[in-house]
């Protein structure tokens, strides 16, 4: 026993401590509990991994039965294999850095203890998610991180837009989870168990499905869950709105860790997907479509966090493309590097926002490289990493995905390259708009404190050098190695696309500052379409939300419930009363009329008697 349970238990303890007594505790105590629990968790991860060594086999620890009924037994079982090891390291290390950063960022905010309690709770659920050894325990983590996401998006609960965004995130995720749960039902029906070990071993014995079968259906339903959590088409709409939360939340939950849960889950279910190539194709298509669409929307956003949010959606699409091309390890590799550079981008953006007292609009920034030099340099590191400039981290992982995509279907490679160009363009557009030119806002920018810049520096280092963690090699025993030779030409093309994107951004926003506006004016309707995110939110609202609410109110409630059913019931009551009021007339209260009734009754009875006698 290595006491794996301690890894999630530390943050849970931190949550309980801060949640129960944090309100009366000092900030220092809250910090100590929150950061300390994550540090302990990280240390325990390191200790565990050191003890487990090369992890040739999955290490499983079974604690207790959560519930059992009939043939179904769901245990509280935790497991560590190579994939989990990667996730554990990313979650705890990036999580720790963002926790530290948040001390500085949140220092002036109300509800300080609440923030850190939620943060620790998130860590608990996230660690549970990646360590779970069966589908249902994973689902606990899965829904739990969604809950924390909801709580933290709506952290500023006085703001209506924030709480609405929280609801949207939770409900859209629930729609995805609907698919997830149906998949779980099918898995139990098909395999008689929910343990990863049993299910995957059984799946390995099945033939590859050439047409849509049970495994394909399971794969597609799981994809629905993944699309909800990882913000893929058609369920990506919640993530941009989720930027209502404090920036460390965007960095930790909506960039580095939670949103990659879908990627992790699909990689985890690789034994199922490998035997359901149709489902895998859909994964790739969804990923690619999301990558392209989100990158295009990202081009025209003016809120710095929204730019990065769409960038996240797009990069997650990339990961799905990698998974869908059969290169699971490449997808996970990109997950890791993305965690570094996207967390850094968000934290950098947070540092800028902090410097400008809450300003998020790129149009009111500019020239910040003189005021916030550390932030500028670190963001630049992240930008070159995400743009895919060699030899920084994004280059390695993106390359792995693009090569796999080329092997899978060449057109996907080209679409991916185009997206890479767009990515480079919009990231550098944001960087140039914020840090170059002259300052266009009313505030007095100031550099953030060391507690914020040190995590930035650490993440910058990881963003630059993260590509040298050879994740695909480490994961090789788990996933079939990505096929296809390393084609140098393909690499040059993608680097050229990135270079073109950066140059174009430079041209439009630094060399010729007016060019962008003129272009936007020239392409009026197209620009408006992109700026308004293709009106997807509005379409969903008109097509789904409003009919649902208004239909329920007008038809179901007032029509069917109050009108039809209750109306019928009240009618029955009314008719009974009416009948009673007619019969009441007999009860005149006059003895004489009663006597007359008695007389007529007895006469009738006698007559009947006599007549029946006579008939016989």
């Amino acid at each position: 026993m290595l006491h794996l349970w301690l890894i999630p238990a530390f943050p849970l303890a931190g949550f309980l401590a801060n949640g129960l007594v944090g309100r009366r505790a000092s900030k220092a105590a809250v910090n100590l509990i929150a950061i300390g629990s994550v540090v302990l968790s990280l240390l325990w991860v390191l200790k565990t991994l050191a003890a487990l060594g090369p992890l040739e086999h999955t290490h499983i620890e079974r604690y207790f039965t959560w519930f059992q009924s009939g043939d179904l037994r769901v245990g509280f079982d935790l497991a560590v294999d190579r994939l989990t090891a990667v996730m554990l390291l990313v979650v705890t290390s990036v999580g720790l850095l963002i926790h530290i950063y948040a001390i500085g960022y949140m220092s002036h905010e109300g509800g300080y203890y609440r923030f850190f309690a939620y943060f620790n709770l998130f860590m608990f659920f996230m660690l549970l998610l990646v360590m779970a050894a069966n589908f249902l325990l994973m689902f606990v983590g899965w829904e739990g991180v969604g809950l924390c996401s909801y709580l933290l998006i709506g952290f500023y609960f006085l703001r209506h837009s924030a709480t609405t965004a929280g609801n949207k995130a939770f409900i859209v995720n629930r729609i995805g989870d609907y698919g997830f749960t149906l998949a779980v039902f099918l898995i139990f029906l098909g395999f008689g168990s929910l343990d990863f070990e049993t299910v995957f071993a059984a799946a390995a014995g099945r033939p590859v499905e050439t047409s849509a079968g049970a495994l394909t259906l399971i794969g597609l339903l799981l994809l629905a869950g993944a699309a909800g959590k990882s913000a893929q088409i058609p369920l990506y709409v919640w993530l941009p709105d989720a930027m209502e939360g404090p920036t460390p939340v965007s960095a930790l939950i909506h960039a580095a860790t939670m949103v990659t849960a879908g990627v992790y889950m699909i990689a985890r279910c690789a034994p199922l997907y490998t035997r359901a190539p149709l489902a895998l194709d859909v994964v790739a298509l969804v990923g690619l479509a999301t990558a392209v669409l989100a990158a295009i929307i990202g081009l025209a956003q003016t809120d710095i966090k929204k730019v990065f949010a769409y960038s996240t959606v797009s990069q997650l699409g990339y990961m799905f493309l990698g998974l869908g091309s059969g290169a699971y390890s490449a997808g996970i590799f990109h997950l890791v590097t993305h965690a570094f550079f996207k967390a850094l981008l968000f934290l950098g953006a947070g540092s800028v926002i902090h410097a400008l007292s809450g300003e998020q609009d790129l149009r009111r920034m500019g020239g910040l490289r003189k005021h916030t030099p550390v932030t500028f340099v670190t963001i630049l590191c992240a930008a070159v990493a995400i743009a895919g400039v060699p030899p920084f981290s994004g280059f390695h992982s993106k390359d792995a995905i693009l090569l796999a995509a080329h092997h899978h279907a060449p057109w996907m490679y080209w679409a991916g390259v185009a997206t890479a160009g767009l990515t480079a363009f919009y990231v550098f557009r944001a960087v140039f708009l914020a840090f170059f030119g002259t300052y266009r806002g009313p505030h007095h920018p100031h550099e953030s404190p060391a507690v914020m810049t040190l995590p930035l520096a650490a993440l910058a280092l990881l963003s630059l050098a993260g590509g040298y963690f050879n994740v695909p090699r480490w994961l090789e025993p788990m996933f079939p190695p990505a096929e296809g030779a390393h084609d140098a030409l393909l690499v040059y093309i993608s680097v050229a696309a990135a270079a073109a994107g950066i140059s174009l951004a430079w041209l439009m926003y630094v060399a010729r500052p007016g060019l962008a506006d003129r272009l936007a004016g020239r392409l009026g309707w197209l620009y408006r379409l992109v700026y308004n995110k293709f009106f997807v939110d509005e379409i969903y609202d008109r097509a789904l939300v409003r009919p649902c609410v208004e239909g329920s109110s007008a038809v179901l409630w007032r029509g069917v419930d109050a009108g039809l059913i209750d109306g019928a019931v009240n009618q029955v009551g009314m008719k009974a009363r009416d009948a009673g009021s007619v019969l009441r007339l007999i009860q005149s209260g006059s003895i004489r009329s009663y006597a007359a009734w008695v007389l007529w009754g007895s006469v009738l009875a006698l007559a009947a008697l006599v007549l029946s006698r006579g008939a016989r």
């Binding site: 179904l72 249902l136 606990v140 609960f157 929280g166 099918l186 329920s552 059913i565």
Partner: protein, 512 residues
Amino acid sequence: MILLNLCLALPAAAFLLLLLVPRSRPGWSRWSALAASLVIFAVSLALLAEFDGSNGGFQLETNIPWISAPSIRYHVGVDGMSLWLVLLTTFLTPVAVLISWRHIAARVKEFYAFLLLLELGLIGVFVALDLFLFYVFWEVSLVPMYFLIGIWGHERRIYAAVKFFLYTMAGSVLMLAAMIYLYNLAGTFDYGLLMADLVSGRMQLGARQESLLFLAFFVAFAIKVPLVPFHTWLPDAHVEAPTAGSVILASVMLKMGCYGLIRFCLPLFPTASRGNAPWIVLLAIVGIIYGALVAMVQPNMKKLVAYSSVSHLGFVVLGVFSFTQLGLDGAVYQMLNHGISTGALFMLVGYMYERRHSLEISAYGGVATPAPMLASVFMITSLASLGLPSLNNFVGEFLVLQGAAQANFTWAVFAAIGVILSACYLLWLYQRTFLGEASDEVKSHMFDLVPREWAATLPMIVLMVWMGVAAQTFLPSIGAANARILDRMQQGVVMDVKNTMPARGTEVARAR
């Protein structure tokens, strides 16, 4: 054995004693009701020690004659299902006493007396093993609830109380007729003897006979559950009832219907149950989705929670009529879960009503600012109710849906939509009541939980987590009891083959 009889005798004694407390001392009635209900709870907890969870049959039985002709017996006992329902009742009664402490200011003595009489009726329903005794307790529970709504309710209380009474009576009359018919056939009201006769084939029901008997029982229970379209008494009753009435009504009374389905409909009429399952499941699924959608658009908090009950209990019926171990276990567990989490929701809404004197959602907004603890507790309860894994409802819902999927995957596909919708209406409710800027009225009226309210709330919260994480405390005994019922269902199918239609009204001579 003596303990189970105490569980019936103590509420009756407490009811009588409470009538002796002087009317001028409402405090005495409160404290004595609390003490009595706590003692009853303690006694019922002691049942656990005597109960063998691995045994699926009836235990702690008492079986003595009550009336010789017609042969009616005082036959009580519990199995792994009814035990937990008894505990749910005894647990919630002190809670109901606590939450009425300030809320009920008029006719205090009578209120608590009725509450204890209600407890007697409810416990009786769950432990009675004689059909007639069951019917007596069924009606006994009806009367105090009628008065709780009719006397201590809100503006339209008379309408709601009469509607509640008539609806339930309409069903229970049919049930009584069916019971008497069964008595004429078998010469006994005793559940065990009836079952033995049916299983051994000594008493055989023709298909048409069985179907009609099943329907008579089913309608009585379906109204109580309530299953769409028999549900319209529920929102009115809940809205008009005092908080404690709502809590007991939602948490325990609705379970009488679910309990009856499992205890009587399935094992007594297995063939008819199977035959009628398709449309019943259809109603259950319609109820799940319909209840959720209608809940979503309610402007009144209590109505919202009431319609959410319709939705949640649809899951129970779905689980029952999936005829799978998972479905039945989930259904019974969901009965308990719903008792805790929806009971807690009604309780919290009651707290809010006591402060702001309104049930309209629009009267609130921003309550989290003046009452953060109330907001946290409400959040946890909502999360439990919407089925967040690691809280109680999830286990029940999952088992029900998995069981339904085993029976027919399409059922699960449609029923699971309810899980999405529950998030919609609860989170939307939470946003509109607790989040946002607080108006001046809200700020001046709303204050945080007081110790007495904590005393009622905290055990519920603990149970939500406990039942969500340590479901194995409850499930083995529930599973053992359900396994018996499923066995019986299987026998019913086998028996069909050699079933011959006896002449109508044949009396089976009984040795006994």
